[in-house]
């Protein structure tokens, strides 16, 4: 009966927001799936850290709405993505698997992003056009402009998406990357995930303006602010930005307002710099909750279905966890590989 009730509601809500955005019901549910999967995988990683199974975790919790909304606006595997360490949900949506990410967490052989050379959360896949990131923040911003420069040079209709925190916009790299994008009207989307803090430093000590988007004008770019915890809104804004880029009209700076309800990383203790009330208030706007409520409101989700999704997510996370745990370590001498390539000729 739960199912029939869902069907009924669906019929009734032809004006559902996702359909107005040309998203099918299946796509809306898929969005929820990736948001949920990322959340559950992320939570497991925190647990593994607390259990001393792994040494370090840096989390995307709270950011999933932004990331999944953004990923859906791309042609996955066709467009380029240059992510940052919070982009677990983005990477999963583009095509990385929970197993991939668990291999990274454990530092195990076969880890696809870096061969387990990088710390976890340095997402990368050549096949998926996810560029392997580094840790110094903001370096990816002008590089993504460079990818877009390549796209424009070759004349395809691809776009490049790069993500970063609001704190990272203080680096010179941000300025220089946006400047190129503005001058050459490059097909790149700069997606700032503004979670209000750079580790412990609040935005008013990071920048003298209220919004990162306020900076777009300095580069002749549109600057768009969006509720980052609403994946559909993010999708809407990103879709526009992508279309603009594909039309050759250049870059967009998108600022998704969001929050990190967990510490910066497993090394952090966020109680030193913010109140529990603030954190709790933001938890009410959680993107998992919000997307689920939305789906319920349009009759695409109910308790039974939600439990089904949870079960699937748990299964995927369990599987990945086991897989990562049981995988062998890379051989020590692998440290010597891939410093130089063979000459091409």
């Amino acid at each position: 009966m739960a199912v029939s009730k869902v069907a009924e509601q669906t019929a009734a809500k032809v004006d559902a927001r996702h359909r107005a955005l040309d998203l099918t019901d299946a796509q809306a549910l898929e969005m929820y799936w990736y948001i949920l999967l990322s959340r559950r995988l992320d939570e497991r990683m925190w647990i593994l850290h607390r259990q001393h199974e792994v040494a370090f975790h840096i989390s995307g919790i709270g950011h999933e709405g932004t990331q999944v909304g953004a990923a859906f606006a791309l042609k996955r595997g066709y467009d380029f993505v240059h992510p940052y360490y919070r982009d677990m949900a983005l990477s999963l949506t583009i095509g990385m698997t929970p197993r991939d990410l668990m291999l990274a967490l454990y530092g195990k052989q076969g880890e696809p992003s870096s061969g387990a050379r990088q710390m976890p959360a340095h997402y990368g896949s050549r096949a998926l056009k996810i560029v392997s990131g580094s840790s110094p923040v903001a370096t990816q911003i002008p590089q993504a402009a460079g990818i877009a420069f390549g796209i424009r040079y070759k004349g395809t209709d691809q776009v490049a998406l790069t993500c970063f925190g609001e704190g990272s916009t203080s680096e010179g790299d941000f300025h220089e990357g946006l400047n190129w994008a503005g001058i050459y009207k490059l097909p790149v989307i700069f997606l700032c995930q503004n979670n209000q803090y750079a580790i412990s430093v609040p935005t008013d000590k990071e920048m003298p303006v209220k919004n990162v988007a306020d900076r777009a004008v300095a580069y002749g770019l549109p600057g768009v602010i969006v509720d980052g915890n609403d994946p559909l809104e993010v999708y809407r804004v990103m879709r526009e930005a992508v279309a603009r880029a594909r039309r050759g009209e250049g870059a967009t700076l998108v600022e998704a307002k969001t929050y990190r309800p967990v510490p910066h990383s497993s090394d952090d203790d966020d109680r030193t710099y913010r109140s529990r009330e603030e954190v709790e208030a933001w938890k009410k706007k959680d993107p998992v909750l919000r997307m689920r409520q939305y789906l319920e409101s349009v009759g695409l989700m109910d308790d039974a279905k939600a439990q089904e999704y949870e079960a699937r997510a748990k299964e995927a996370v369990d599987d990945a966890n086991q897989f990562g745990k049981n995988a062998p370590f890379p051989p020590p001498e692998a440290a010597l590989e891939n410093v130089w390539g063979e000459s091409r000729k």
Binding site: G107, K108, A116, R117, Q118, M119, S134, S200, V201, T272
Partner: protein
């Protein structure tokens, strides 16, 4: 006499110096209420307020440039770089600006500035939270580069850093932060720059090591002593400018030299030390000048077996010592 860890030595000395000199202030990422990600500035904002302990925006170039400007104005800033790996965006400001100001102004403008940076590997930090950056900066005349390994030296050299009118890159080995404990006298003292120290006396061969590697070298030296190999261990402490005399004196005595560092081998600090020895102690040498460093790969890998493979350790040092002793 107090027993302190290396990081306690940093924190305590910063507080002590700030009490003494109102012109000292600290800036860097998360140095305020968070007390730094390693907690090196823990408690300082509480004591000195946010005027003197200033959370910077996330921007290393300007952390250094702001420090430089403030130093030109007459203050004595401390810039914390969160991880040494992230000093790279400030390279131009450090090398072309901070380090060249005295020279380019013929001594009229100076930049008394302390840049603190936790460096080094072995802590699962992967490529970008493990780097050893000393050789890059020790190549730069006008910039003191120091890497104290013990709480005694941390205190003495950090004090001294505020007593020179030049910029100092103050390197703190992050694995040694809490691993290393030691005695610090209650009496006031400094450890002047440019003075190496013989950390262990010996006669058969000389090992030159600093930072974490000093401690591993001392451990290896201890082990081989059981087999009658007497190792003299020299800690340069100041990496730029080097105390050639102490190094040469030791090598002239022992006739054999091994340099150990965790930076990659090529053009690591060992290159300069080996070159000095090969030039100025040549006639005293009984064996090739040996170096033990990390392999020439871009940086320390994350995964445990690869990290272990990368890092020099007491076993590898012991092996190198035995090889050199047997030459």
């Amino acid at each position: 006499m107090a027993i302190l860890t290396n990081i306690e030595a940093v924190t305590r000395t910063l507080a002590e110096e700030m009490r003494r000199d109102p012109n000292i202030f600290i800036t860097g990422e998360d140095v305020g209420v968070r007390g730094g990600v390693f907690r090196a500035t823990k408690g300082l904002i509480e004591e000195f307020g946010d005027k003197r302990v200033v959370d910077s925006p996330l921007a290393e170039l300007s952390i250094v440039a702001i420090g430089m400007g403030a130093a030109l104005y007459g203050l004595h800033p401390v810039c914390e770089i969160q991880f040494a790996d992230f000093i790279a965006p400030a390279f131009n400001q450090i090398v072309n600006e901070v380090a060249k100001m005295r020279y380019r102004s013929n001594g009229t403008w100076t930049v008394p500035l302390v840049i603190r940076a936790p460096y080094g590997g072995g802590i699962g930090g992967g490529l970008y939270h493990s780097q050893s950056i000393e050789a890059t900066y020790a190549h730069v005349p006008g910039l003191y580069v120091v890497a104290p390994a013990t709480p005694y030296d941390v205190v003495g050299m950090l004090r001294y850093a505020f007593r020179v009118d030049d910029p100092v890159l103050f390197l703190e080995h992050k694995k040694a932060y809490r691993l290393i404990k030691g005695e610090v006298p209650d009496d006031y003292y400094t450890v002047p720059f440019g003075k190496a120290e013989v950390k262990r006396a010996g006669t058969d061969l000389t090992v030159i090591a600093y930072g974490l590697m000093l401690h591993l070298t001392l451990e290896a030296a201890q082990r081989v002593a059981a087999d009658g190999i007497s190792v003299q261990v020299v800690d340069p402490r100041t990496l730029n400018p080097l105390d050639k005399e102490t190094i040469l004196e030791s090598v002239k005595k022992t006739g054999k030299a091994l340099i150990v560092h965790e930076d990659n081998l090529t053009l690591g600090l060992g290159a300069e030390i080996a070159a000095i020895i090969a030039s100025d102690a040549f006639e005293f040498l009984d064996a090739p000048v040996m170096r033990l460093g990390a392999p020439d790969v871009p940086a320390v890998p994350f995964s445990q077996p690869m990290q272990d493979f990368f890092m020099p350790n007491a076993d590898k040092i012991e092996k190198a010592i035995r090889k050199l002793a047997a030459y």
